[in-house]
């Protein structure tokens, strides 16, 4: 287990998104993220392993009845038991809040190549959430005030990102239509064409989330991430946050990402067939080839809230702040809007039509 201790006062240090470094919450001391060499990394791992007290046991998960391997660690700060599931790579002690990294889930094969660090703090995340609850013309006015935050969790989600070179071949039939009037007859000329295309196009860093428990649909909608802020992975970024290692290996998710690349390439190729009245694709052969694959971690905030007695959650992109979720719809407001728009447009359209009839 790895913990980052403040050299000045001994309290624990966590990653600060605004300052982009480790900060001690107690005395304010900052420490830059050090890029460790391979040897330094190995040393760190050895130390961590030696000092950890850990035992494993198999437990049946309550939520979906699956057999899960749970691991128990002893918190180095307060001695309490930290429970983690088989994928937890970073967590906090439930009792003293000590941010803890589990090194053997962040090393070797399971060490990410890159990471996008959180770009704003928990307070800002809460602010963004509050702003989100206020928006929407059909949102009940009480939603913003009565939605109570239960938990705001900063989580690094494991992703694999892929580069593809796609070769797309497409054949289609197309027509162009011309009209000509000669005397009493109208002639319609239809020119028939055979279209053939061979296109090469590359896609880079198409992400696929590697966490079983995070729904793919939600994760896809969190995109896009700004890769300009993606940096080489170092463990301190994770301090103070939850993190999970991947459930699926890169090869397992490749087909999902390849399907995306293929569909992008197909659309792009189809769009080169222009200038025709109709186009009918008769044959296509899209072949994606993976040229690069990297394991990364991307930041997300999971905001759990209660509204009118029920629990909901939204997911927020920890870098861009984009929120994926659904606001409740107030029936009263919906009716109000419908009636209002109806009345207004009825009056306007009526006047316009009457004027047209008279004119």
């Amino acid at each position: 287990m790895i913990n980052y201790k403040c050299p000045q006062c001994g309290a624990y240090m966590i990653y600060n998104p605004a300052k982009k470094c480790l900060i001690c919450e107690y005395c304010g001391k900052t420490e830059d993220i050090k890029v460790l060499s391979a040897e330094e990394q190995a040393e760190l791992l050895q130390e961590a392993e030696a000092s950890s007290e850990v035992w494993e046991e198999t437990v049946t998960e309550e939520t979906n009845g699956e057999q899960v391997m749970m691991r128990h660690y002893i918190c180095k700060n307060c001695g309490a038991e930290i429970m983690t599931d088989e994928n937890t790579a970073a967590t906090m002690c439930g009792f003293c809040g000590n941010p803890t990294l589990i090194e053997d889930r962040l090393s070797g094969e399971t060490r990410p190549a890159k990471v996008i660090p959180f770009s704003f703090s928990r307070e800002e995340a809460i602010e963004k959430f509050r702003a989100w609850t206020k928006k929407g013309k059909l949102t009940p006015s009480v939603f913003s005030s009565s939605a109570s935050l239960d938990k705001v969790t900063g989580l690094y989600v494991p992703y694999w990102i892929y580069d593809f070179d796609v070769d797309a071949q497409m054949q289609a039939t197309a027509t162009r239509v011309r009209h000509q009037r000669k005397g009493q007859y109208e002639y319609i000329y239809t020119d028939h064409f055979a279209l053939d295309r061979g296109v090469e196009v590359g896609y880079e860093r198409i992400p696929a989330d590697a966490s079983k428990k995070m729904p793919d649909d939600v994760m896809d909608r969190l995109e896009p991430f700004d890769y300009k802020e993606m940096v080489a992975f170092e463990m301190p970024y994770l301090s103070g946050f939850q993190a999970d290692k991947y459930d699926y290996k890169g090869e397992e998710l490749e087909s999902r990402a390849a399907a995306r690349a293929s569909s992008y390439a197909e659309t792009a190729t189809r769009n080169t067939m222009n200038g025709y009245a109709t186009v009918n694709v008769v044959h296509k052969n899209i072949r994606p080839k993976r040229t690069k694959m990297e394991y990364t971690m991307f930041p997300a905030w999971i905001v759990n809230y209660t509204y009118q007695g029920k629990s909901y959650f939204v997911t927020m992109n920890g870098q861009t702040g984009k929120i994926v979720g659904k606001r409740p719809t107030s029936v009263a407001r919906a009716i109000g809007w419908f009636a209002g728009v109806y009345a207004g447009s009825f009056a306007i359209v009526l006047l316009i039509l009457a004027a047209m009839m008279m004119g």
């Binding site: 009037r181 007859y185 296109v199 909608r221 992008y264």
Partner: protein
């Protein structure tokens, strides 16, 4: 003639000569009258009313003759009113068209004009229009239907003079006030009928409002519905990114062939199309060159 010949035998020569001369004159008269009727003068055919079914009294026929002639003179299109008890093997519109062509009806070089046929054989009233390329003389289907609406009332009552008389009332109105144009001919196929406006008195404001109510209600419903759908959709946030996000550089099109195969052609004859209006069937005409028309049964 045979009767006449009997008397020529028995009479003196001067009487024979007189009788033969008289016969010749009769024949000549008939021939001349026919020729005169057939000849298409600048002002259209000399005779306007051809009451073969004897539906009109003499004075009625005269009145119609005068009016038709006057309209033809003023408006520069010919009008013929024809009644018949028997169309033979022809259907109503064929009879009307062939009558028009065979009896020298038509004004000017174009021979443009209108023919109203009261067909007692097939029990149809038919309005035929010929060669009305001039802007003023085009009757749209809607206008023809409007005229039929008015004149058929008389037909249902058996008042055939009324049919002809009201026809002479209605026709000039539509031709003078209707709006027509090339648009009719260009897209007659696609749109099915030339888009001419009906002549109406301008509406007052309250009337216009009442007319517009149902359409306004429907439109407002659609607008409000669409707005609601959009507002509900906005409640769910988080849209998937577009492909442009991940594309690396530009497409490289290494093979691009657009090969011409062949051309297929379809041909449509453009005519002011005709169809029977509401209330009862009727003939429709796409026959011969330059004819168009429509009719209704009674």
């Amino acid at each position: 003639m045979k009767v006449g010949m009997k008397y020529i035998h028995a009479r003196p020569i001067w009487l024979r000569v007189c009788m033969m001369a008289f016969c010749l004159m009769l024949m000549g008269n008939v021939w001349m009258t026919t020729a005169w009727a057939v000849e298409s003068l600048e002002s259209g055919s000399a005779q306007k009313v051809f009451d073969q079914a004897s539906l009109f009294t003499e004075s009625q026929a005269e009145a119609l003759e005068e009016r038709a002639a006057q309209i033809a003179e003023e408006e520069q299109y010919d009008i013929a009113i024809v009644t018949t008890n028997y169309t033979g093997s022809m259907v109503t519109y064929e009879y009307a068209e062939s009558f028009y062509e065979n009896n020298g009806i038509g004004y000017g070089d174009n021979k443009q004009g209108f023919l109203l046929l009261i067909d007692m054989d097939n029990r149809q009233v038919y309005i035929d229009e010929y060669n009305a390329w001039e802007e003023n003389f085009q009757l749209s289907t809607r206008e023809r239907d409007a005229i039929l609406d008015v004149i058929m009332e008389y037909a249902y009552d058996g008042d055939f003079y009324g049919v002809a008389d009201s026809f002479l009332d209605e026709l000039p109105q539509y031709l003078n006030n209707g709006i027509s144009g090339d648009a009719d001919y260009q897209y007659a196929i696609e749109h099915g009928e030339p888009g001419q406006q009906e002549v109406q008195e301008p509406l007052t404001f309250p009337e216009a409002v009442k007319e517009s109510l149902p359409l306004a209600a429907l439109t407002a419903l659609v607008i409000a519905g669409i707005t609601l759908i959009i507002l509900i959709a906005v409640q769910k946030t988080g849209a998937k990114p577009s492909s442009a996000e991940y594309q690396k550089g530009a497409l490289r099109i290494y093979r691009r062939n657009d090969t011409f195969i062949n051309t297929t052609v379809t041909k449509h004859k453009i005519e002011t199309s005709s169809s029977s209006g509401g209330g009862g069937g009727g003939g429709s005409s796409h026959h011969g060159g330059g004819h168009s028309g429509g009719g209704r049964s009674f």
